[in-house]
Amino acid sequence: MAKLGRRGFLGAAGALAGAAACRTSRDSKKAEDPYRANKPPVPRERGARPGEERWVLTTCGLCRAGCSLRVRVVDGRAVKIEGNPESPVNRGGVCARGQAGLQLLYHPDRVPAPRRRVGQRGENRWQEISWDEAIAGLAAELSKVRAAGEPQSLVLLDGEYTGATHALWARFMAAFGSPNHVGHGCGGRAQMAQAVRKLTGAEGIASYDFEHSACVFLVGTGALESSPHAMGLACAMGRTPRPRVFCASPRLPGMATFVDEWLDLAPGTSTALLLGLAHVLVRDNLADEAALQTAAGFLPALDDSGGQPGLRARLLAEFSPESVASLTGVSAERLSHAAHELARLRPSVVAIDEEMADLGAAGAAILVNALLGSLNASGGMRLDRTRAFVYPPLQPDVAASAGLAAPPLDGREGRGASDFTEARLLALPQAILSAKPSAAKVLLASYSNPVYSKPGGTTWREAIAKVPFVVSFSPFDDESTAFADLLLPDHTFLERWDVVETGAALALRQPVVPPLRNTLSTGEVILRMARALGGNIARAFPWNTVREAALAGLSATTKARPSLLDDLQSRGTAERTLDAKSAVVVDVRSISWAPPSLPSDGVRFPFVLVPFRGPGYAEGGWRQLAWAAELPAVCNPWGQRIEISTDDARRLGIEHGDDVLVESSFGVLRAQVQVSLSVRSGVLGLPLGKEDAMAIVGSFVDEASGHWLASATRAQLRKVG
């Protein structure tokens, strides 16, 4: 019937299909490979073979723990961070944050080169300049200050506590003649340093030898989350049998299921709790008398003497578990039980969260450890008396002497006016704003971003804006950097050379890859700045490189231990041993146990805010550590959350995942609710890390120490919508 040839039709169809096939196959060849990372070019080290793989030993710089790392470098790019098994700090482990360090190195927000501000402050308009120009500009500004005879108007915010750069800064401030070398820490860490010094005369802060403890009593949750001691505790948990863990805190992280017993402590009452522990130890004769006696004069004020009631009497009179219970909310039985366990399972240690402590609590923790015989003992609390970096003393010139004699801006009281550990960061913004006792003319921020991470809301912003000349050394475009006049970007820790000192070890930090951007290590900047300033300052820094300067500072240490540098080079880390003579004399009379006075407006603000640093917390912001921000246990990646107890949630009709407004007298914060079984009723757990979390936390100050009281802000909660 029909004459239309089927063959022809099929043929045509076949041809079409064939054409289509050719097309796709050709296209797919052209398309770029979706399975391969298209890596941008990086600066190549001399002599590095293309395609070469190597492992570089270095030290983590994301917190103070000083974990030794092995970094895998392929083709000039760092691709993986692993722990160094040789390290006594981390025993081959690395924490979640440390792993994300690579994202810091390759972060898109890194400042590419030194910059000078061209627009208004905060406008974020910059002009890139050369390093020579930048350092000359800074030196000119500093010369002006010195020429005007007010070197004390130079203020340095220093976020590092140890290491070569910190030592060089201290030397620079002394040579320049400014007492205003202020540590970036404002919370318990500073209080701890103060307590250590007041009670024992030792320098620095405490570290813990969890690895050899049989029982660990934690006050606060830092060691369970992000404090530098978390790594030590985690390593200790790998031991068999593992230590028994107590934790006294208003909240327990939901993940910390390995904590054997949680004492739900009322916020701000850790001093009372610890003294209650001390009471039981003394009352039931559980104190380690042997340790007390062998170290003669260990606790000189233990017994009554010269008509003065001794510590024993005072503890027994004032801090019985029953009387303490009303304050802390921890029953007398549980407290006694904990004290007996601490005494039974030796060696045991009381460790205090450095972000939560007040001066009294820090002192009380030292006291309890002394009673347990755990001070500077295996498995106990370790108080460092030696510092690795020691420079020969300076002869300040006339201008510097005058400056150093001036009263420090932060109103610290301490031994020498330039005593770094006594500096009170929280007093600084007010002092700058009121220009009392003197005006701040130049502000340097090294490893410091106070606008972002310090309480006090907008005062920091205003204070920084008031300083005529602000220099930031941050490698990132951050909140404080936005107000700077000059940006001198530092290397990230993976590009720096440094020697890191921690309680347990010295560790080598060396560049893993050549600097990715046109950055310069801050130590190098100090040396070049000193040289540009000339005179006595230049003479104080006779070294050409940071490495040279650091080795000079270490010379005393290397003399005592000649193999140190070789050890560092070959193993990345060198253990520090306590010498037997390092028994500590604790004089408890120099500290007051009075509980800090907390503001109270329980009617309008029924909750107490307990700020904490979650596992993803990183100083300077977790946005730079994207992996840490997206940890699966963070219920709201990249968002703000707030922890509330099951009871409170039920009472307020709030469910897990609801959006709420948290309001304090300092501000309002929007957050997602995380209902938790392990949060004390009446407490809101506030994870820090997001930009605006700190804004609702008040900068309440502990009268005794001049430092921050973290858990003192009251708040209320409202459901959104």
């Binding site: 190549r44 590095a48 395609g51």
Partner: protein
């Protein structure tokens, strides 16, 4: 730089001299200027490009070699296993390299997955997916 693989091979050199790693690592590497300078520190011929090597060395720069042969990103090819264990020759896969008088500008590998699988079958090597895919 008009490097001739042929000339180098005629000079009785081995591939591994300039491309170490092929015998004990997954990827073969490229020579550094220092490697080149071992032979070319002094002029060895009259090739117009030879002084360039010394120029690079003087500037302290590396020669920007370009890797033209790239397997798809999801393929894993350990040179060590093929060169050392299976005793294959480089030119078995890099077919044109012995006679190349200029650096390659186009990929020189033309094997398909079928070729790989056939050889693996014939030599009784594992043909499991994850042996070669990553």
């Amino acid at each position: 730089m008009a490097l001739s693989h042929q000339r180098h091979m005629q000079a009785d050199m081995k591939c591994l001299t300039c491309h170490p790693g092929a015998e004990d690592q997954a990827e073969a590497q490229f020579p550094t200027v220092a490697d080149c300078m071992d032979c070319h520190g002094k002029a060895r011929g009259d090739h117009p490009d030879e002084p360039k090597v010394r120029a690079y060395a003087q500037q302290g720069a590396e020669i920007p070699w370009v890797r033209v042969d790239r397997l798809p990103g999801h393929v894993y090819f350990p040179h060590a296993a093929h060169v050392t264990l299976a005793k294959m020759k480089c030119e078995d896969c890099h077919q044109g390299i012995l006679t190349a008088t200029l650096p390659l500008s186009l990929p020189d590998l033309h094997q398909t997955m079928e070729d790989c699988m056939r050889c693996h079958r014939e030599r009784n090597a594992s043909n499991q997916c994850k042996t070669c895919h990553r």
